[in-house]
């Protein structure tokens, strides 16, 4: 029997339907301590007088940690890509979003941990938060980082992600119409049914066993090892079975802190976020602000696109520079547009840091460019299927960063959609395929961008 192509049952299906699948929270280790966090009540504030002595003295409390307990306080999630760190594991001197962790307590039970959190002394001086990315560039905008309000380290020196191809000026000049619009998808929660959770057990041999809900075992291990300044053989990350992720569990949200608490207390430590913490303190999909101006001809060719993207990163960079770069590479969507001017900024605000989520970087640009495409069709009075088929990327066309498309399927999927909707396409369009451009489908403005698919 062939395995590939077969409708085989889930490998872990029987475990799922018998309730036997073991998620992190189902691992029970005697003597496990509960964790609670002191989180920032303010969107932006400086703080002083952090005093954990009363909490530490409470019966049942086994460890309290603050920034002073973290060997490497700031670790960049994407340090391997040269993206410098900006986010402390636990806040030091200032908080940049409501819910930011400042101190953690591990105690015999939840109530004791919570009481100890409330016994931690701290004084905040509130600051005006920056919340609107469109105002971040203004002189009077509150300043969030020493870097300023937007991320300055693309390719080491660029303060923006930039794409340039052809000549946008020429495209605007040649256009019959320039269609301009603004697109703003919202921040949303990942909403995995399993909230962020980890359990760290200090072993007799000095290793730490980290039961984790991570989407990326090795990635999380690397993050913990960096913060703790230990080699990888000191850690064993146990996981691989996750109660939903959708991108949010690429963040290493709890593992490092549990590891520090386990080291300090010598006891197993678990931290399971409440649903409220998951909704209010976990990272979200980013809100984006996108402006597009397309140079179009009256018969529906898109000659050029100018685009500005502001990516609301929240208080810290996390994966946002990566997401924006990916976004920029796909800002023409499923089409070939030869003249491009794209500028994108990762903008900081005093909201919960945003992170990867299903479709990272591209969900936003798909919404913007496809809604814009529909608008172009309406403005020009053209059929929305035909405008798409006409501009669809084809074998031999090139992407915004000059990569040749070798197997694009825009034409097949749009034609199949028309079929599925019972829409009859005009004969020219019904006859289209994805092969290289010729004849009417190779107007002058698309000649220069062509490349040989064999060069892939």
């Amino acid at each position: 029997m062939k395995a590939v192509g077969a409708r085989l049952p889930r490998y872990d299906g029987i475990e799922h339907v018998t309730g036997r699948t073991q998620y992190v929270d189902d691992v029970k280790v005697p003597g496990t301590l509960w964790t609670k966090a002191l989180r920032s009540p303010h969107h932006s504030a400086s703080f002083s007088g952090l005093d954990t002595s009363r909490a530490e003295a409470m019966p049942g409390v086994h460890a309290v940690i603050t920034w002073e307990d973290v060997p490497l306080l700031e670790y960049g999630h994407l340090s391997a890509l040269g993206i410098p760190a900006d986010e402390p594991l636990l806040a030091k001197d200032e908080v940049r979003y409501k819910g930011q962790p400042i101190a953690l307590v591990a105690a015999e039970d939840e109530d004791t941990a919570q009481a100890a959190v409330e016994a931690i002394g701290i004084e905040f001086e509130e600051r005006t938060p920056l919340l609107d990315i469109r105002r971040a560039f203004d002189e009077d905008a509150p300043k969030i980082h020493q870097w300023g309000n937007w991320y300055p380290h693309f390719e080491g020196e660029m303060d923006r992600r930039q794409i340039r191809k052809g000549s946008i000026e020429q495209a605007f000049e040649q256009a019959d119409t320039i269609v301009q619009g603004v697109y703003r998808p919202a921040a949303i929660e990942h909403v995995p049914l399993e909230t962020q959770v980890s359990l760290v057990v200090p072993e007799a041999n000095g290793r730490l066993t980290i039961y984790s809900c991570t989407q990326a075992l090795y990635f999380s291990m690397g993050v913990v090892a960096a913060h703790l300044n230990v080699p990888l053989n000191k850690l064993k990350v146990v996981g691989g079975t996750v109660g939903g992720g959708f991108g949010g569990k690429v963040d290493t949200a709890t593992e490092t802190m549990c590891a520090l608490l386990a080291q300090k207390s010598g006891r197993p430590v678990k931290w399971r976020w409440t649903r409220e913490e998951e909704f209010l303190c976990s990272s979200t999909r980013a809100p984006w602000h996108m402006e597009i101006a397309d140079a179009v001809t009256k018969d529906g060719w898109i000659l050029g696109r100018k685009m500005l993207t502001l990516h609301d990163s929240g208080a810290y960079a996390r994966f946002s520079p990566y997401g924006l770069t990916k976004h920029s590479f796909h800002h023409t969507g499923a089409y070939t547009i030869p003249n491009l001017e794209f500028d994108g900024f990762v903008v900081f605000t005093n909201r919960v840091p945003t992170t990867a989520m299903r479709g990272f970087g591209v969900t936003s640009v798909s919404f913007a460019t496809e809604t814009h495409m529909s608008r172009i069709a309406h403005v020009l009075g053209l059929d929305p299927y035909e405008v798409r088929l006409k501009n669809a990327n084809r074998i031999g066309d090139t992407s915004p960063n000059r990569i040749v498309y070798t197997d694009p399927s825009t034409v097949p999927v749009v034609k199949a959609l028309a079929g599925g909707m019972g829409v009859e396409l005009a004969p020219d369009y019904a006859a289209m395929d994805r092969e290289q451009r010729t004849g009417d489908l190779l107007p002058e403005h698309l000649v220069g961008q062509l490349a040989d698919p064999e060069d892939h």
Partner: protein, 264 residues
Amino acid sequence: MTKATEVISPTSADEAASLFGDGSGVTVIAGGTIVVPDITYGRVAPGKALLLGGAGLDTLDAAGSTVTVGAGLPVQRLSELAEDVEALAECALNVADYEVRRQGTVGGNVCAGAAGDAPRGDLQGPFLALDATARSAGAGGERSEPLEEFLAHRKDRLLLDLTFEKPAASAFASLDYPHTHAYTVLAVTGVRAADGTVRLAATGLAGHGARLRAAEAAADADAAGAAAVGDVTLGDDALASAWYRERALPVLVRRVLAKLGEAA
């Protein structure tokens, strides 16, 4: 957790009333759907918990022209009144989901405060429109009063039951997201009493549910819709803004009045 709590489980309504006393220091747990999460999340730390499950308050008497609904009746069971009071049954089936309706009680729903970021207390609407009488225990002993008055101090009293006359017709219209675990953004209930009087009430407001008296007095449905806005205080929450509710309320009033017309 909650080890210090004294838990008492009365076995009759009278015993419940007497154990409730003046209510001070007492946490009432009927269905538990509101208060148990509050305990879990540390927002309520009961010193003394009154568990009402066995108190016999889950009564429903609709045999005659008057209906009496025990405060301990599961919300789901109001569906049994579909023929007598369509709006009440419809509103009840609009609350949360099957499991929560089976567990949550009429009293808990009627006495609910706002959830912080969303309105609660959907059943206040139909009971207000039905001009229900609330019988409650608490300081000064047992008392019966119009629900409208009871709502103002509902947190201090133990609701025992609600009584109302069967109406000639009733109608319900709501704005809610299709999935039931969301709270109702805004809802309007209309009742035509046996004597022809039309009463309207709304929930999803800044405070608890309210009668729409100016709307009731208006000449026609359009005027009623417009007048309803003056009857209420609207707020912003996670589900909708006051701006939106101000525009949607007249629509719901018109729809309820249209339905009442159909039901004539």
